[in-house]
Symmetry: C2
Subunit: 565 residues, 2 copies
């Protein structure tokens, strides 16, 4: 079982990083509080659940995960997926809804942990980048459009992109002006800060690093400023601007979720999808940092870390968590070297909840909507689509299919479509192994593809080089290739399979080769092998086929060629 050892960053030689880590942890805590509240609201939950989800899960990941810098907490995509799964089942923010969200986190967490125990970390890599990018872009646009009512002070019944847009259009006259002013002004400032501040500051003051920091602090500044304005104008009862509202102070209490059988059952599929997406996104992010820092990422330990984090989140009043893009960027650039930064962030978050949580009651909702709007737009990734379009049209179509799937059919069907597409591509690729009929370059011992080079061949001999390991998905393709070649060359007396690139032959492929050898022998065609690798030969030697072929297995293609002359 991975992850059950004391983490390496706890070692004495790593402790010199701890002071820097403590600072990074403090920065992360301050900057992600508004975001955590906003994501919880996006998930249809009371805002405090975003804070609850930032204590125990963060500690769990710090001790069990393998990334040194990944910051875990509520994230945009799984928040939307939570809302999308639960809104058909209960009224948003009701006690039942909260219990379902906790149950969902618990289930996802158990699935991830189980997958970690079973060492299924390799599953992180079975969604292609275009599918992930198309999915995330679709979700980002879904979330951004979903923020419009909050930004404008409107209430719109029902869900879905079309419904929201039509609703905003129809209720245009009812836009709440103070809310819209606050929301759109925040949006404009945040957008400008994110896209221009660093550059403008760099040019004006000559220090781009400070500019970057100012850009990162902008959301906090905007939130503080807007809150100040709202408080000064009489709070929620003054201008009528919606605020976050009552927050219960104190730490999350431990509790077991109480749901009945059918409720658990209805959570299974969404939990699986959230687990999958949360895991894939976290690993992509963590992998990018591991490469940059020349550290090792272990997908199985990531499963354990994220799994236990979600289990604890579900038991301590939080909801689904994953590695978050913006919190990880902040953590890394604030100087975090080890997960001690996350330990500090979790402890500080607990302190905030004990002492200051009621300060967030007057945060205006429109400003949180503006900050979500701006931060999800950074997830929009048209670059991958453009690159795929130029490089490989099939990949570009996967991007578009997943993207439109999410927008038109919703998050679950969208990711379902992405999974099916990825698997179909995998099966399709696997069923088409690269193979080449080869001949000898005159006067050498080199053998090359007869379609690309001028080479010598022997009458009656087909020499076929197989360029991939043989297993169930491509065994039939070899069989078919051979039957096609024999149909073209009716004078064939011998078939030589060159296995220089074959690292493994599974049972299906072995049975195919065995049957092929028998039926060829009946037709008077002799099968032989060349360049069989050591491990393949070890297994093959013990089989009936291996014994039948024993005298016809050649070390080199050249030797086989000479023997057939």
């Amino acid at each position: 079982m991975p992850g059950l050892r004391w983490p390496s960053w706890w070692r004495a030689d790593q402790r010199r990083h701890w002071a820097g880590d403590a600072l990074a942890g403090a920065v992360v805590t301050v900057l992600v509080i508004p975001q955590s509240l906003a994501y919880a609201m996006l998930a249809g939950l009371p805002p405090t659940m975003g804070l609850y989800a930032s204590v125990w899960p963060v500690l769990a990941y710090a001790f069990l995960g393998s990334s040194q810098v990944l910051a875990v907490g509520p994230v945009a995509v799984t928040s939307l997926m939570t809302a999308s799964a639960l809104l058909p089942l209960a009224v948003a923010a009701s006690p039942e809804y909260v219990a379902l969200a906790m149950g969902l986190a618990l289930l996802s967490g158990l699935m991830l942990t189980l997958a970690g125990v079973l060492r299924l970390g390799f599953l992180a890599y079975f969604l292609s980048q275009p599918v992930i990018s198309g999915f995330v872009t679709g979700v980002a646009i879904l979330i951004a459009i979903g923020q419009l009512p909050g930004l404008l002070g409107l209430t719109i019944e029902g869900r879905g992109v079309a419904n929201t847009l039509v609703g905003v259009w129809a209720q245009w006259a009812q836009v709440h002006r103070p809310t819209a002013a606050l929301g759109l002004a925040s949006l404009a400032i945040l957008w400008w800060a994110r896209t221009h501040l660093a550059r403008v500051w760099g040019r004006w003051a000559g220090s781009p690093a400070v500019g970057l920091w100012l850009a990162r602090m902008a959301p906090l500044a905007v939130v503080l400023l807007a809150t100040f304005i709202v408080v000064q104008t009489g709070g929620a009862t003054g201008l009528g601007v919606a605020v976050v509202g009552p927050i219960e102070p104190g730490l999350p209490s431990w509790q077991l979720v109480h749901l009945d059988g059918p409720q658990w059952l209805s959570l299974c599929v969404p939990a699986l999808l959230i687990a999958l997406i949360g895991f894939v996104e976290s690993v992509s992010l963590a992998q990018a940092y591991a490469i940059e820092r020349q550290q090792r990422l272990e997908p199985d330990r990531e499963l354990m870390g994220l799994g236990v984090a979600n289990v604890l989140s579900g038991l301590s009043g939080g909801y689904s968590v994953a590695g978050g893009f913006s919190r990880t960027v902040i953590n890394a650039s604030a100087g975090a070297q080890t997960p001690m930064a996350s330990v500090v962030a979790a402890l500080l978050m607990a302190l905030v909840m004990l002492g200051f949580s009621q300060a967030f009651e007057v945060l205006p909702v429109a400003v949180l909507s503006a900050s979500i709007f701006v931060s999800v737009l950074t997830l929009v990734d048209v670059q991958t689509l453009r690159q795929a379009w130029r490089y490989d049209k099939a990949d570009a179509w996967s991007w578009l299919a997943t993207f439109w799937g999410v927008l038109v059919a919703g998050v679950e069907l969208g990711i379902g479509m992405g999974v099916v597409l990825s698997l179909a591509v995998l099966v399709w690729r696997s069923s088409r192994p690269h193979m080449a009929v080869v001949g000898r370059i005159e006067g050498t011992e080199h053998f090359r593809n007869i379609d690309r080079h001028r080479v010598q061949t022997l009458a009656g001999l087909i020499a076929l080089r197989v360029d991939e390991s043989l297993f169930f998905a491509n065994a039939a393709a070899l069989e078919e290739k051979v039957s096609q070649l024999l149909a073209q060359h009716s004078d064939t007396r011998a078939l030589l399979l060159i296995l220089s690139a074959v690292n493994r032959i599974d049972t299906t492929a072995l049975m195919m080769l065995d049957g092929l050898e028998r039926s060829l022998a009946l037709k008077g065609v002799q099968m032989s092998l060349a360049e069989v690798k050591g491990p393949v030969m070890d297994r093959l030697g013990q089989t009936d086929l291996g014994r039948r072929l024993a005298s016809r297995i050649y070390l080199s293609t050249n030797e086989a060629f000479n023997a057939h002359r």
Copy 2:
């Protein structure tokens, strides 16, 4: 669209086979009539539907399929799957049940045809042989046990292996003796004929070919004999032996299935599974013959052929059809050379139904049960399990998991388990590409794995040979391998990727390589490539990465080595 040309066997030069084909078609018709009746009853349908399913579908496959010898009709496995899908929805043999069975064939057929149009024939190869073998063996045992009540003249409520066995045990006292005598005697004779007759005849009369023919005729002889006995003893009212019962004479009438929306919806998943299994089994069988006869099998045309066959079956009063093992063996060994044999068989079957179908009314059910029992036992394939157990334990475990899945959880969950297992193996395999760090064999231009050979390496250079095409499922593995190597060798200044075995790089892998190059450059590690294949280079050259690397792409590993010295 495949398959819309006049089939090659219609050409003048093939017509010399037609006389032999006509004979083979006649033999098939006579021998498969009892089997078709029995399989329809296994599916819970009126026996005539087995005959209906042997006319139009057979003609459709003859003109659209690509196998010269595959005989299509009702088969054991899909018959059981039909029963398993429909028994929860309607009462066996009721008009509603019949309509559902026709709808199921229609849906499967449409799915297969669509898959053919989309050229998804490659999907035939994504179930591994151990999974197929475990599935078929499980189903065979399920079917065999399901015949016990019919053989003994018992009626047992409910379904499932355990239920049937317990029921037989509990009702042992009520066994209907004349039925059991007839059933068990038929079983013994059929079993002996199948396992010993050919050999005994061969030894006694010295002509094994005649013996084989006698063994093949045995089911027909047993059926005729048993029917004779039943008729002589007063038919169904005499000894009380159950018979097939009223059969409406005449040809199947064309009709559109009338089902409502929810009924169609509930048929979707079973239709998909039946289409998958029917297709996979037909292709495996047809492929074996294509190899033996050096003919070409086209999976896309197989999809079209089986698809249209099932559509016509569903519209003409039949049910799901596929390529059948025993009918194909009979067809091939009776001398069929082209699908004209099937055309003749279909026409003769139509004649039989017009003139003689009422003759089958007095067939005793127990004898049909006995013939099903014996013929499905030939599907039991422990050989594959034994071979896999010796050769590759992972494959043996897939066999066992699918087998027990079918027996314990039923046909649908069993095949679902097989599909998931196959896909998991595919993803797992794909996520572990073979890679080797190489060095130069002193004094040569050959490069070999440093773990297996004594080779020269250069300080600061890691030369990594990638042995598989790079794509989304294995891109991360390369990234991880590199980060692991860099962590082990902190003095690395250059990374050389040897792409001699890479036939394709997809967008995900390209983005990974691009990111890898950038982050390595930041660490002062220079990335270069060697032995990039032509088609890969063509695509790579147009990308940003290709332009950045341009001066660092070497033709041979040796050249790259010398450049890094």
